[in-house]
Amino acid sequence: MEIQVLFFGVLAEVTKTAFKHYRGVTSFEELKMRVGDDFPEIAHYNFRIAVNNELVNGDPLLKDGDEVAYMPPFAGG
């Protein structure tokens, strides 16, 4: 699967990128490990993950072309 990973807020700052494209992804769990390996600094931050604009809990099934967002706590309003 090809997956687009997005980083927001302080995570975009510490990863020095707003997004990264991942190819050959086999599962959500495996994607998280690859992201963690590429950007070990994110382990120091709180974040939640959304898949295609929806917050996820646990390990959702991904499909080709999904958008996975790494989001620090919100600060809008």
Binding site: P73, F74, G76, G77
Partner: protein
Amino acid sequence: MSHKILVNGPITQEIVSSIIAKLAEKKDAGGHSVFIGQVRADDFGARRVKAIEYSAYENMIEAEAGKIIKSLSEEFNDVKSIDILHSTGIVMAGEISLLVIVSAGHRHHAISACSKAVEMIKASLPVWKKEIYENNSAGWKENSLA
């Protein structure tokens, strides 16, 4: 439920005035409750807030705002319309970054739905903010959800 939420930069007086001017067209409304969120010049000694830089997850913010509007329209059936505008990018101290306007037949529905919308916006809109201080240092801020 298509609804354009994000405004690039501050929500200007012109934007606010043009929205308020349109309220008169809603002749079946008896009350409009408006919340205006402004960048406050918080003073932490040398680190006085000069501006906030907002960033947002654009696809998701439109979806989440749509859910807020749908949920409140169902809860308060007298509500005629709900509009939400949120800034992205740089907003200086004293400028407006959030505008919520709820129109309803009766005032009580307008006030309750607007108040609830502000809380829901804070809790569920994917927006991040970086405070920029007078000395040009910066810091990320999170909402504390009391």
